[in-house]
């Protein structure tokens, strides 16, 4: 029986008493590192809490502490509440060489715009993206999907049930971001917060997929 087949933290919860007094903060940080190291897939803080036998709040505090550290070769990546260890962005070149990976082709301006809309306002539909960009985006979406930067996150419960797109953990890794909150600020535009503008634009956009790029 392979330990990897089991959901982490699933069976240990009953055995370990909550808030193990033997674990000080430094030791808990080390334990979290160890758990993330062996976790076969992105792990929730709840799973870490069960594994460590401490309340989730302590896990969150310790994770914040781990985030502060810059002397490590790894970073904590968070996507949709799940954590994963990844190599530090500053080593990208050498890690690529180590893994034998080629650098991928740079993304086109159209792909970057589309990705920006999805990243800042996920989950979002093709209709919403096209309403902002004013052009057909199906080809660009296929490219981004093919590179694993976006994925279908579900379907919006409106007429036509359009697919909702969201960014993937690969998106965070590709751009060297620890989480979506690390995205660059949208900035101010004409005295209005650009993020607000974008939200307003997307709120006005037609819900159904395949909507034309322009309202009216």
């Amino acid at each position: 029986m392979n330990a990897r087949d089991r959901e982490p933290g699933a069976s240990v919860a009953r055995q370990a008493p909550l808030d193990d007094p033997d674990l000080d903060d430094a030791e808990l940080a080390a334990l979290i590192e160890a758990m993330l190291l062996v976790a076969p897939e992105p792990t929730s803080s709840e799973q870490l809490a069960q594994g460590a036998g401490v309340p989730r709040a302590r896990i969150e505090n310790t994770l914040a502490m781990l985030d502060e550290r810059t002397d490590r070769g790894w970073v904590l990546i968070r996507n949709q509440g799940r954590l994963q260890l990844a190599s530090a962005p500053r080593f990208a070149g050498r890690i690529r060489r180590f893994l034998g990976l080629e650098r991928e082709a740079r993304l086109s301006p159209a792909a970057l715009e589309t990705l920006a809309i999805i990243a800042y306002r996920q989950p979002t539909t093709r209709g919403e993206i096209e309403a902002v960009r004013g052009v057909d985006c199906s080809g660009v979406l296929a490219t981004l999907h093919g590179r694993g930067l976006i994925s279908a996150a579900g379907r919006r419960p409106v007429i036509g049930a359009p697919i909702e797109y969201a960014t993937t953990p690969e998106f965070l890794r590709h751009f060297g971001l620890a989480s979506l909150s690390d995205l660059p600020e949208l900035g101010e535009i004409g005295g209005t917060d650009a993020a607000e503008l974008l939200s307003a634009a997307l709120a006005d956009a037609p819900d159904a997929d395949g909507g034309v790029g322009l309202p009216d």
């Binding site: 970073v75 990546i77 994963q84 260890l85 990844a86 190599s87 530090a88 962005p89 500053r90 990208a92 070149g93 890690i95 690529r96 180590f98 893994l99 034998g100 990976l101 650098r103 740079r106 993304l107 301006p109 159209a110 970057l112 715009e113 589309t114 990705l115 920006a116 809309i117 990243a119 800042y120 902002v132 960009r133 004013g134 052009v135 057909d136 953990p169 965070l172 890794r173 590709h174 751009f175 060297g176 971001l177 660059p184 949208l186 900035g187 535009i189 004409g190 209005t192 650009a194 993020a195 503008l197 974008l198 307003a200 634009a201 034309v212 790029g213 322009l214 309202p215 009216d216």
Partner: protein, 255 residues
Amino acid sequence: MATTADPTDLTDYQLRLPSFEGPLDLLLRLIEREQLPIAEISLVAVTDQFLAHLGAIDRAAPEAIASFTAVAGRLLLLKSRALLPRPATVAEESSDDDLVRQLAEYRAVRQAGERLGHLDKLGLSSFSRGAGIAMPLTVAPRLAPGSSAALARALRRRLALIAPPPLPTPRKPVVSLHQMIGRVLAAFERSRAVAFWQVFDYRERRQMRVGFLAVLVLMRRQAIDAEQPVPFGEITLRLLDRALAEAALLGDEST
């Protein structure tokens, strides 16, 4: 601050805009080129330039033309409002065209895209497990128990199970149509009429099949004639024209 661009100055900008994507992209580039703020008056200022670009759009993409034309229509409406004095009663509906807002939104997205593009260019990516394609697979090999002698025996047993390769099939000599026509001709050296069995060996079925074909070819060319008085009886071949028969032998298929 320049609030209007000279609409007659069409030759200047047409050459310089890089390829643009979609009407909003074009409109924004035109405004930025003129260093105008995103406002209704700026849109009016670049309307003529925008229209000039409409002619350059690839005719093979009707969707693109449609979206450009839709924006052009809204621009023209703005321009006509700017040119004509407005009655006060309709002022409220024209106060904020959402083309202005849409453009501002688009610019926000474009700037966000540019920032992502900067990150993309830096290439400071993270990698997690399973990212590598060149790393060897981590599946542990399952080694057979026992010594190398046992392995050698196992290999021999395995090899014994492999079926021997099939014996090579003896190749039968090829009987060509050309050969058989030659044989018919040779038979006619002795007499003008020969029996089929005199020319071909009945025991050699392949030879006979090709020989029969040779006879048909020669008959078609009217070089020989054949007669079979009774069904399944002997076929008698008669030479009609030696020259035609020899032409058939040379493989002249034109006749």
